[in-house]
């Protein structure tokens, strides 16, 4: 099953037409406000607690071909305390982490990126730190570009893997991708 999936993915990459007009090395910045849903692994008064979040990620080393892109960078984020309910509320925190991202240009305007990362998080009011891991899938829609930059509308869906909580983060945002030495691709 896994082998079939791998073969299919490789085939899709191999046969898919060239879509990205801008190619080469890039830097990018993403800004995403989101809702952060904490699903506790412990006994809590409700199954899910809701917070708001905001994240900014910066890809420092990225490369895009006609069909795909890869990048590494870091992310900064913040999550507010959850809506008060019952006797408790989930604490808010600030996060800083490293991430690796891969993207696949599916149509001229639509691409899909996935990202894995690891973070250090600091609770806002108390000086307590915890480590976490994250996974993100983000459909992105190109709505503006020239040879030097691309601007995407993104709808990332993230899973934040904390020790005592698994959180789902749903957001809408923008991604600005800048090509310092643009190579123009052939668009089909």
């Amino acid at each position: 099953m896994r082998r079939t999936a791998c073969v299919l993915i490789i085939l899709l990459f191999a046969i898919s037409p060239a879509f990205s007009a801008s190619q080469g090395q890039f830097y990018s910045v993403s800004l995403t406000p989101s809702l952060y849903f904490s699903i506790p692994h412990f006994e809590d008064e409700i199954p899910v607690r809701t917070s708001a979040g905001f994240s900014a990620s910066l890809d420092l080393l990225g490369y895009q071909t006609e069909q795909a892109s890869v990048s590494i960078g870091f992310q900064l984020g913040t999550v507010t305390p959850s809506i008060p309910f019952g006797t408790y509320r989930a604490r808010g925190f600030t996060t800083i982490g490293l991430q690796a991202k891969g993207g696949w240009n599916i149509t001229p305007t639509f691409s899909l990126t996935s990202q894995i990362g690891t973070e250090i998080n600091i609770y806002k009011h108390i000086e307590e730190v915890f480590a976490s891991f994250s996974f993100q899938v983000s459909p992105q829609f190109l709505f503006m570009e020239n040879s030097e930059y691309q601007l995407f509308f993104t709808t990332p869906l993230s899973v934040h893997l904390r020790k005592e909580i698994t959180a789902i983060q749903v957001g809408v945002g923008f991604r600005y991708q800048y090509f310092p030495n643009p190579k123009q691709g052939e668009q089909q």
Binding site: L35, F37, S38, P40, H41, F42, E43, D44, E45, I46, P47, V48, R49, T50, P81, S82, I83, P84, F85, G86, T87, Y88, R89, A90, R91, T109, F110, I120, I122, Y123, H125, I126, E127, E128, V129, F130, A131, S132, P139, F141, F143, T155, R162, K163, E164, I165, I168, V170, V172
Partner: protein, 332 residues
């Protein structure tokens, strides 16, 4: 793209509504009664342990009034026990006080246990019990030093007066409902257990420790006893205000809970709950352990251990429980 956008927005909205509906539509637990136990010991009747404290009794008396006010403002029933040892009296009548709410009770270990047993017998699972202690903390273990019950002809034994974190937290854990223990004493941070899911930057640890904590097998559970302590592993101090003394930590706590500002003299202390204003540590409509904790850190006179990179000396850094959850104390 524009053709698929409405579907996509709908797809995003559905899980958002499903998840966020928890807080909106889940039946809210009913808030119960509030019990407070405020302890202040000045040690002036103690020959062996001569380090008198002038701020502890004002701490206890003013916290007692403040909790009465805060509870009244949040429309909950309140029962308060005031345990104070004040002055040099050390006769049998001084020690044998009745365990009655709203009257002075002598803060011996036995009396404290009786007070907590009284609360245990009446408290329900949705009640909140707050215990505050202003007095000495033993160096370096943080054990509390309660008032002795020896008359002038008897010898005071320090070890008999010590109350260990384990014993106090065991007594508190037997009380139904949520509990908050507030300690204004030296080395009181020893009462705060390390969380199973996060590590305090007040103590030394490294990035390796943070990731080891992630992979450790210890599970996180929400503590039903939260702690708020004046100091981590250092001493805590008193300061003078309006002609009397207070623990720096408790003075700031009082301000955060709404005690009048500027601080009145003892003789001008409020006598009605209306004289105490809305808590200044309020975050939105709720007063939580974290909101009190951050208020104290921001407003106390003594410096806190501010950052990893700029350590300060002579610090008094408050502590509270780590982990994912903050406890809501009062709603307004």
């Amino acid at each position: 793209m524009s053709r698929h956008l409405p579907k996509l927005i709908l797809l995003l909205l559905i899980p958002m509504l499903v998840f966020s509906s928890c807080e909106l539509f889940w039946e809210k637990p009913i808030e119960g009664d509030v019990y407070t136990v405020t302890i202040g010991i000045d040690y002036k009747n103690n020959d062996t342990y001569k380090d008198d404290l002038d701020g502890t009794v004002p701490d206890a008396r003013e916290l007692f009034l403040t909790f009465d006010s805060v509870t009244s403002k949040s429309d909950r029933n309140w029962t308060g026990y005031l345990l104070v040892q004040e002055g040099d009296a050390r006769d049998a009548d001084t020690f044998n006080t009745s365990i009655l709410a709203r009257s002075d009770i002598y803060p011996s270990k036995t009396n404290l246990e009786q007070v907590l047993n009284t609360i245990k017998s009446t408290a329900k699972s949705n009640d909140l019990t707050i215990l505050t202690y202003s007095g000495h903390g033993f160096n370096p273990s943080g054990e509390l030093i309660l008032a002795h019950t020896k008359t002038v002809t008897e010898t005071i034994v320090l070890d008999e007066l010590k109350l260990s974190p384990t014993t106090l937290l065991t007594w508190m854990s037997e009380i139904p409902g949520k509990k908050l223990v507030i300690l204004d004493s030296c080395f009181s941070g020893h009462f705060v257990d390390q969380s199973s899911s996060s590590l305090s930057l007040v103590y030394e640890n490294s990035i390796n420790d943070w990731f080891n904590q992630y992979w450790s097998n210890e599970d996180y559970t929400i503590p039903d006893i939260f702690l708020l302590t004046a100091a981590a592993d250092t001493e805590s101090w008193e300061i003078s205000v309006a002609g009397h003394k207070h623990g720096d930590f408790t003075l700031t706590l009082l301000e955060g809970l709404g005690w009048p500002d500027p601080h009145p003299t003892i003789s001008a202390n409020p006598t009605t709950v209306d004289a105490v204003s809305q808590p200044r540590a309020l975050k939105g409509s709720v007063l939580t352990v974290d909101s009190l904790y951050s208020y104290i850190k921001d407003h106390q006179t003594y410096p806190i251990r501010s950052t990893l990179f700029w350590p300060r000396t002579n610090v008094q850094h408050p502590m509270t429980n780590g982990g994912a959850m903050d406890m809501i104390l009062f709603r307004f």
